[in-house]
Symmetry: C2
């Protein structure tokens, strides 16, 4: 059943306890969206728990608001997912929750419609932009105040999904909402956070990027740049997950690149592929051919095979789309 | 004489010919501001010429609107500067124009008040944000239409001065204006431009950055990171101006950096210093001690001396401010 942000408020406002599930490998958008909704619901007396199969990355820990402790014995009377296109992204929570998702709030075209109610806005830049509509309804009805805590979650979530308002999913509405939220925030604080999220890098990250810059593969005929990070490179240099977590956009910086591909070996001959596009080519469609998905400009998949065979398959798929 | 955006319209609307001067080493803000104003004035029949002591960088050429040819013999009845804190920034046009500047439109705290009329808004993120107020007055009075051409100039100018809405000079108004302008623009086109301005790098730029990453000087006690680019490095590696033009922010990316300094040797033992801050330390005040200036978070100066002596002087100045 498709529902609106207004219905979301109606659905949640009289609950005793809500569990909010955000996707595995959480990013700024699902963290911001999950915790903004949690903070708003707590204001109206709903007990709320936010759950994620993976830990919240250190750089987004500042988004976590102070939520009241809810004892294990208090069971949820509704389960909500945010920013989750597919119940598979529940990760380790799949068995516990996937069969009983009462509401999904999402912005992915590829949403699998797995929840009883679906609040989907594919024009929204981010799940946070939809959560804004939800909390705005609650504010207009004098149910809640949009606090600095809520504003921060939504603002930072929108920023992370739009590359700080750089990508084409940034709409006039995105910027209008951001303007309204920034009224509630300290600009110096936000600028420091932006620096931390979008600029600052660790030494080993910078060292890793210098290494990748030397081994990058440029396919001029395909306007495509590919960086491959193998387990051998990681082991020999003692790189850790936080060093390569943000590298999906790395190949895009090379001049004249229209499609950037970052390939990370996860197991011997199993690669996690991140594709980015600054052209008309829809990388979500390409990734779907390999069992993955995402957005037109940013998508991903997992492919089993030898590095060179995978690259050949990907280039073939790009050639077909072009 | 201090004037408002309304006065700016009154001052310019009945002129026969206006010369708009933008500062040497032009950036997205002065280019956008100069050409947006030019395009608006041309709509009301004013002959207008935009002049700059240096060529417009290739990456901002798309901002230049089609302006009607104005023959040399048509002399300006007013000279306007935009985004120019000091008449010295006229560069090679100093002798021709500095004694007769009828209006300066600027947002720098350090403005030297060198023009007959000064429209200064130090709260504006950019000169473009003030030009928006000017063209908005003209639009409300039905004098002009805010065209896609004008919107593009102002949007991109605001973006370049705010690091794509990342810095603390981004205000709620900045985002509200951006939202309004984005209604007039193609989002895919803007995203491609953002990619081109903020992400894409040439191979030699990437090679230069990898080299600087190896030679960077970290002063932990001062939370300061310094990169030095000498003429020797440039000559030995055949780097060109466009390779190092955007490096002022380079040192900021190193973790825990609060002050980033980029030193570029311009002549033997003469260094152009670019300082950036993500702390309370006002780098404009530090640069003023060395005869320079700018904003609290981004400033510059020129210092004569040996590299190590200059670094010592700069660190001493930082210690005094801290």
């Amino acid at each position: 059943m498709r529902v609106t942000p207004l219905d979301v408020v109606e659905t949640l406002k009289d609950r005793r306890c809500v569990h909010i599930l955000i996707h595995e490998n959480p990013d700024g958008d699902c963290i911001g969206a999950g915790y903004a909704l949690a903070s708003a619901l707590q204001q109206i007396g709903v007990k709320v728990v936010v759950k994620c199969s993976d830990p919240i990355p250190e750089k987004f820990e500042f988004l976590i608001p102070k939520l009241n402790y809810v004892p294990e014995r208090v069971k949820p009377d509704i389960v909500v997912t945010v920013d989750m296109a597919d119940a598979k992204m529940l990760g380790t929570y799949f068995d516990d929750y996937s069969y009983r998702i009462g509401l999904c709030i999402d912005h992915h075209v590829s949403n699998k419609n797995y929840a009883y109610r679906l609040c989907l806005d594919t024009k929204a830049s981010s799940a946070c932009e939809i959560i804004y509509d939800v909390v705005k309804v609650m504010q207009i009805r004098d149910m809640i105040e949009i606090t600095e805590e809520i504003a921060k979650c939504i603002y930072v979530g929108m920023e992370t999904d739009t590359g700080c308002f750089r990508y084409s999913n940034t709409s006039p509405k995105t910027l209008r909402v951001a303007s309204e939220l920034l009224e509630l925030l300290d600009r110096e604080y936000i600028a420091n956070i932006n620096h931390h999220i979008f600029v600052e890098k660790s030494f080993s990250q910078i060292r890793l990027e210098a290494m990748l810059a030397k081994t990058v593969k440029i396919y001029r005929d395909y306007n495509c740049t590919i960086s491959v990070l193998t387990n051998k490179m990681i082991e020999e240099n003692n790189f850790s997950k936080s060093d390569y977590a943000g590298l999906a956009n790395f190949p895009m910086q090379f001049e004249k690149t229209k499609i950037g591909i970052f390939m990370k070996e996860v197991e011997p001959n199993v690669f996690k592929i991140s594709m980015r596009s600054v052209s008309d080519i829809n990388v979500s469609e390409i990734c779907q051919q390999f069992g993955g998905g995402g957005h037109a400009k940013a998508a991903g998949c997992r492919i089993i095979g030898y590095e060179n065979d995978i690259i050949k398959s990907l280039l073939d798929a790009i050639a077909e789309q072009a």
